[in-house]
Amino acid sequence: MKHLGLCLTLSLASIGLASAADAISFARDIAPVLKSRCATCHLTGEEAGGMALYPAAAYASIVAVPSLESRLMRIKPGAPDESYLLLKVEGRHLDAGGSGQRMPFGEAPLDEAILQRLRNWIAAGALDN
């Protein structure tokens, strides 16, 4: 009975986690952040960093694309801690062998809710949804 209860609890928790992650949409939740906080400087890909982060181009520019500053991918689907872009906005990029300042450049860091949203999206497979 105790074992069944534990399984049930774990199952419910998994469903909850899956629901939270599934609910994240790249178009609705991630692209607007990239547009408003990143694309001013990383617009066409010709700038330092080599990323085009306006909505129509952002996904292809970051998912499964090698970082120019480290050995990591910019976004590695399913692996937030191996996604250089996430590390860069969390300020953990230097420990991963990266360089440059924490992003957004010269601004206050992204708030925790946004960082968690980004992390959850990556963990759920970084879908183009």
């Binding site: 700038e47 306006y54 360089s99």
Partner: protein, 586 residues
């Protein structure tokens, strides 16, 4: 309906950003212009018809659009990049406006005669004559300065009345004081502090510019002004002498927009057009400007018969050489340089400028020519500092808060080792710098220079370059040399806070600096009505320009923080107002 299309276009229909932007091809050179594009037949129908077309979406173009709408005109905006905002969008959004509403409210007199003397003296030091009716300037140049003074504060008042954008006094963020002008010490400057203003909502070092353009764009959206992104203007369409519209490319699609009253260009400078840079600039290795700043209006206006003004001016700032060589579209210029135990030296190990002077004027020292050695001795400068400045001021660009951040900072355990490492870095980039090398006596000269500087710092007087003598040096040092959180360095209690002796022991550090810019500010000639002038020196009917895409009224001077945006907003306002009330083309 006109030409079978709806006159009133929905936002979804108009934000046609899906096409590949033209900036990618333009950045490689002059890009596609009407010289290459096939001229369309006169009978080719217009896709849209409006009163005023505003090209660009930064401060100049948005201000023009607001002014035109305010005068009752229908407006369409056209932007070649996939997002709006221009270089304004990545700036601090500060604007320099003499005699603004906040001065007047406080009873501070920023009178026209005195202000014009400051502008004229600073922009044209070689011509300035105080008792001349035009202060020694050519009449056209004087009228441009006059129009800026007369219309800047009016523009600001009207923007407030319309609710398009509201400003507040710029108090230098954490420094919390009215901003000191860039030539505060000139006797002609009777109001050396406080002319700079910033957006009332969303002000900030890196976000104010986005707030500024977003506010105006929001106001325009509420009035159903279409903004076509991903549309690159390729031709100015004329009927006889008169400009009647534009052609633009959206991917492979040609879009023709008729402008019954006028076309206003606010399309930025040409910092990222290396051909134009090499032809006209004394040195510009990198720039903060958006990559769309490729000087499109110079080509378009030339083909429309415009006369060029100065082509060699820019809002200048230094850049970290290695960063600019990697990508000339730098994230940030080395503008207000941090550190007090910090100096620049040239290849001869000698200081050449007050390191705390404003970035525009300081950068011009790179262009000094030595007619004996037949070289530019300051082509590259070496920003040298010690571990004290690294600890105290890390996090103030380019000094990193964490040394791992910076791939380009040069280090040496001793001055000797630092000099050797600078030489190695120069050798590595020689092919891109014309082979600049350190002089044979660089090391002993550098050591002597540091020793002299140490004495100046202790005495509180720099007899070579007056560092710290004037308010600008110390006021802006306070803002951009903020103590690093966690630093254990004591505050500088010496007579001049921007000077401190170097530590007697290493490590020591350096960056190589080159000449760069925020953006160029040269191009076609305009008059005081923002009308673009033709070869006959008469206005080309229907064609207007503002901001960095035309020959700046400021010429080579940078009057104060926000002079760039102040001029863009003011002349955009003048252009939009005049375009909207011009007689309609038949």
């Amino acid at each position: 309906m006109e030409n079978g299309r709806k006159q009133r276009l929905t936002r979804r229909e108009l934000l046609l950003g899906a096409g590949r932007l033209a900036g990618a091809s333009a950045a490689a050179g002059l890009g596609t212009t009407s010289a290459q594009a096939k001229p369309t037949a006169v009978s080719t129908p217009w896709d849209y018809k409006t009163d005023v077309v505003c090209v660009g979406s930064g401060a100049a173009a948005c201000s023009a659009a607001v002014a035109a709408v305010d005068r009752g005109a229908k407006v369409i905006m056209v932007e070649k990049m996939p997002l709006t905002g221009g270089t304004t969008g990545k700036s601090g959004g500060v604007a320099w406006i003499p005699n603004h509403r906040f001065f007047r409210a406080q009873g501070i007199v920023d009178g026209k005669d005195d202000c014009l003397r400051y502008l004229a003296r600073y922009s044209y030091p070689q011509l300035y004559t105080p008792d001349s009716p035009t202060l020694g300037l050519p009449a056209r140049s004087y009228r441009l300065l006059e129009a800026f003074y007369d219309n800047g504060w009016r523009m600001l008042d009207r923007m407030h009345e319309l609710g398009a954008v509201r400003f507040k006094e710029f108090n230098m963020w954490v420094a919390n004081r009215p901003a000191t002008d860039y030539a505060d010490h000139l006797p002609e400057n009777k109001v050396p502090r406080g002319r700079a203003i910033e957006p009332d909502v969303g002000g900030g070092a890196s976000i104010g510019g986005a707030s500024l353009v977003n506010a105006m764009e929001s106001w325009l959206h509420q009035r159903d002004v279409p903004i076509l992104t991903g549309h690159r203007v390729t031709r100015i369409v004329k009927e006889g002498r008169r400009v009647v519209g534009i052609e633009a490319r959206n991917g492979d699609k040609l879009v023709r927009i008729r402008a019954r009253r006028g076309v206003v260009f606010g399309t930025g400078g040409y910092s990222h057009n290396t051909e134009l840079v090499n032809l006209h600039q004394p040195g510009l290795m990198g720039a903060c400007a958006k990559t769309g700043s490729t000087g499109d209006f110079i080509t378009l206006a030339t083909e429309a018969g415009a006369r060029m003004g100065s082509l060699d001016t820019a809002w200048r700032a230094q850049v970290v050489l290695d960063e600019a060589l990697e990508n000339r579209a730098v994230g940030r210029a080395a503008d207000v340089l941090p550190g007090d135990s910090m100096i620049f030296v040239n290849k001869y190990g000698r200081r050449v400028v007050n390191e705390k002077r404003n970035y525009n004027d300081r950068t011009r020292v790179h262009f000094i020519y030595d007619p004996v050695r037949e070289e530019y001795p300051n082509q590259l400068l070496f920003m040298v500092f010690d571990h004290r400045s690294l600890d105290a001021f890390g996090g103030n660009f380019p000094i990193p808060a964490d040394v791992r951040e910076s791939r380009f900072m040069i280090k040496g355990a001793t001055i000797d080792e630092l000099a050797a490492n600078i030489a190695k870095r120069l050798a590595a980039v020689a092919a891109k710098t014309g082979g600049v090398t350190l002089a044979g006596d660089f090391l002993p000269e550098l050591k002597a220079t540091i020793e002299r500087f140490n004495g100046y710092a202790l005495a509180g007087r720099d007899p070579e370059f007056d560092r710290g003598l004037h308010a600008y040096d110390n006021d802006w040092h306070l803002l951009f040399s903020a103590l690093r959180p966690g630093s254990t360095q004591p505050p500088n209690r010496l007579p001049r806070i921007c000077m401190h002796p170097f530590a007697g022991e290493g490590p020591y550090y350096a960056f190589i600096l080159g000449a760069g810019a925020l953006d160029t500010n040269s191009g076609p000639l305009i008059n005081e009505k923002a009308e673009v002038l033709g070869h006959d020196d008469q206005p080309i009917p229907g064609l207007y320009g503002a901001g960095n895409c035309i020959a700046s009224p400021a010429r080579g001077a940078y009057w104060g923080a926000g002079a760039t945006i102040g001029l863009a907003l003011t002349y955009g306002y003048i252009a939009g107002s005049n375009a909207a009330t011009a007689p309609a083309a038949t």
